[in-house]
Amino acid sequence: MAKYEYSYYPGCSSQDGASSSNLKRSIDTMCEELDVKLNEIPDWNCCSASIGYGSGGVLPRMALSARNIALSEEHNPGQDIVATCAACWLATKEAAERFKDDENFFQEANTVLAEANLKMTNQTPIRHMCEVLIEDIGYDKLAEGVKKPLEGVKIAGYVGCQTNRPFGIDGESFENPMYLDKMVESLGGDAITTYEKKVQCCGGALAFSEPEKSQEMIKGIIEAAYDNGADMIATPCPLCQANVEIYQDQINERFGTKFEMPVVYYSQLIGVAYGRSAEDAALDGQIIKAKKLEDIVGK
């Protein structure tokens, strides 16, 4: 029996061959190390993220989350739902809250679920993997397992939007959440606590539809990391990671910059600090290589 066990909602982008498959790989490694068992919700579906609203009304969108909650209740009873993707977590949690606030809405959701022979009681806590790390495991415990401290690596903790707002992590502020910095310190790295863009929007889905406007914001996020002397940016959010990492070529072309700033997940930092291989820590998933992490792996 693993020490911790959760009902896991990985989300579309974490699937094999998808844009944050590296997140899933590093999460799996991290959970192995921390004795966390993740039971994937069978047949989970997309949450419609925060862009579904153009075609989907409120109820259809919330119904998507209702289905995941219902499936989790049925197959992983008694387990908290844990998501690793900011949008997945936010959409599911938001839906669960609305069902709680509005009885009528809750009834409608169940009417809809009945079409697929499902039902939900909506009693399951919806949590983010960072909450599990901070609240269930804790920084001290996290620090205990470090085998290769991230000594001398200067890391800008980029929390982004949806991991932080509107729910965020208990006890942290919306304007200046510190938990990524605390994680980095627990792993022996240098947290850049003055990183002023830590909750700046990366453009979200508009990185696809409005690349010019989004890339201007991404430029600011990277620039601030350089200004603060960062070796890399670390983030909990798959869309943040992708938006800030993969467009650096295009941004360099558009703005004449010379960015080459690695953007990694907190779970990759943990994998490396816990002494795992580059592959286990999914460092091969980087488009911009995280040299300093690779060096530590090679030690």
Binding site: C12, S13, Q15, D16, G17, A18, S19, S21, N22, D43, W44, N45, C46, S48, S50, I51, G52, Y53, G54, S55, G56, G57, V58, L59, P60, M62, A63, L64, R67, E108, T111, V112, L113, E115, A116, C161, Q162, R165, P166, F174, Q200, C201, G203, G204, A205, L206, F208, S209, E210, K213, M217, A242, I246, Y247, D249, Q250, D284, G285, Q286, I287
Partner: protein
Amino acid sequence: MSDMNTAMVEKYRNDFLKEVVANVEEGHWVKMCMQCGVCSGSCPLGPHWAHPPQEIFMMIRAGKRDEVLSSDSMWMCTSCYNCIVRCPRELPITHIMHGLATYAKRLGLAPRNQPTSQFSEIFWNNMMKRGRVNELKLGLSLYFKDGFGQGVKNALANQKLGMNMMKAKRMSPAEFFGGHGVEDTSGLQKMIKKAEEIELARLNANK
């Protein structure tokens, strides 16, 4: 203009605020705005909004129905939730913006070639096919949304990015042929159909 739109115009002739209260997600909160402008100042895309949220709220109260619903402003929302957490009156501004966008689109008033509106539709359709997003097809539909020629151009412009992603195993050509999806696709689709019916019935009752 849709029939629904005509009906709504008829019913709420003089009171757009009431129309918003009745039909828009969280629309009943609009009246509580105190016009402080913190939302507009907090929006990362603020400078790109023709009418920032504060102004949208004022326009709703002033009955500027067409200007609001045909505005591309709401489509600038990145769902960053900055406005929500900062609003001193705790209005769910992000949701209201989404709600207005949804409503405008439903009435056929949303601006036609608004890229985020188009992307949103592509995303929804892509997801609804198999219950999960197919990123490869999503990307391609977006590139080709303005026709084949523009699509090839877009794809070429993003060629390097695509290659990078494939090298990092974060994009797979296999997705083009089937790819991921839920098993109970039909159950899911029935659900969403039902949900849409319930919502439409509610709107029709408000006509």
